[in-house]
Symmetry: D2
């Protein structure tokens, strides 16, 4: 069952000129780069930075990604990326992300990524119990 009110982490970022395309808004694949920024800050806020996970031999490659584009964002616009996570079955984690303009809260994009847990050799592994504890603790705290 999905958490009714999971822990959320926010991060602000600015649209770079390198993110724009000739339509004048951000190029579509940048949303997935920004989802990564959101995940990075969520994991840090949970007390389990992704650098710690990789240092412990736990890698979280993306197995699925979904984005709905909801509004434009222009060069130098300040965006807020809000991310939450929950387990999806026993072996995957799903991160839900929402991107909006930081001040107006006008929507930009939302979606999710699903991640497997694999070891340094790319073999599926169980999520470490310390990670599951951190996730449960965070989501409980948000409930």
């Amino acid at each position: 069952v999905s958490e009714p009110n999971p822990f959320r982490a926010d991060v602000l970022l600015r649209v770079r000129y390198s993110d724009t395309d000739q339509m004048g808004t951000f190029y579509n694949s940048r949303a997935l780069d920004w989802f990564e920024c959101g995940r990075t800050e969520l994991l840090r806020a949970m007390g389990t930075p992704y650098t710690t996970l990789e240092a412990a031999g736990v890698f979280l490659p993306v197995t699925e990604a979904h984005v709905e584009y909801r509004g434009r964002a222009r060069y130098d616009d300040l965006l807020r990326v809000t991310t939450s996570a929950e387990m999806s079955g026993k072996a995957r984690i799903r991160c839900d992300v929402e991107i909006e303009h930081a001040e107006s809260r006008a929507p930009v994009a939302r979606g999710y990524t699903v991640h497997a847990f694999v070891d340094a050799g790319g073999r599926p592994m169980r999520p470490p119990s310390w990670f599951l504890d951190a996730l449960r603790g965070a989501n409980g705290a948000g409930g």
Copy 2:
């Protein structure tokens, strides 16, 4: 109803070093860049290159994207991107994409993008009849 056997266009591309990340495979957002390469070649093969669409004031911003990651691809690997398209309702077009290793046909990623038809000012517009004719012609030809 979805075409049972729509027209497909292929394009080959090589994984660039700039596409890799520290996990040693391609970074997840690159799949959406490669989907674009597939779309570009599909539209060209249909006789309606995207440059022609934009020159005619028809823009196709992405409104939704989905990717399933199915296998690794390393620097310098040669990939085949296969793309088909069909209308999704009266005002959207959906492009289905499959990426595999060019020789082994081992899967890399698959997914789709959905696009609105908008004018230069970003306002929704009807797809031009010449574009719908080209799409119907192509997909009929593939049937």
Copy 3:
């Protein structure tokens, strides 16, 4: 004559996973993306954000770029980008950039970009006097 002590603006940024490559450090072209982040903050700090310049019909395309790579930077490392600018002749501006680790100050990269002043049609133009005043004011203030 080059300013002995021009105005400098700082911005912090984190290395994203999408910036890494399979060598485990940032991919070389990202330095130019980061140089842009530095320029954006320098222009804002001068009171002439680049959005204001473009809104006034003044564009600053890069005509030359140079980067020296001086050290590694890994995923999630916090970097400081320090930027200064001065006119290069009457029609170009040169931005000097230094990137270092935010805490250790270990060097990452340094270099510069040179920019022309062009109008919306891409034609060379004189730098607006209000921009030259802002640049002179800023660099004087730093002297």
Copy 4:
């Protein structure tokens, strides 16, 4: 002494929509991505693909990069990247690159990258003799 007429390898590539920015031409850092495409094909044409180098424990990180931007290139334009290489002292290799429109030969960008030879641990190493032989053979052949 620099080779008067070194071996050159060509590769064609198309400007992607993801390469464009809101000025309507390619974003400046993409030139360095394209320089990499040129290098990759040069090394392959020399009989020493970069994958072979890395498999042999030889890495060529960029230590310096320089780009002059000489003309616009738009979405879907077909470009030719022409690359040559020569040793720069005993421990570095320099790749010179020229990018032009494939048909009109109108210039787009030119520049160079300088690379160190390092082992998997990032320690400087001597270039392998088989690599130096391949480079000498190629450049002699072009003379």
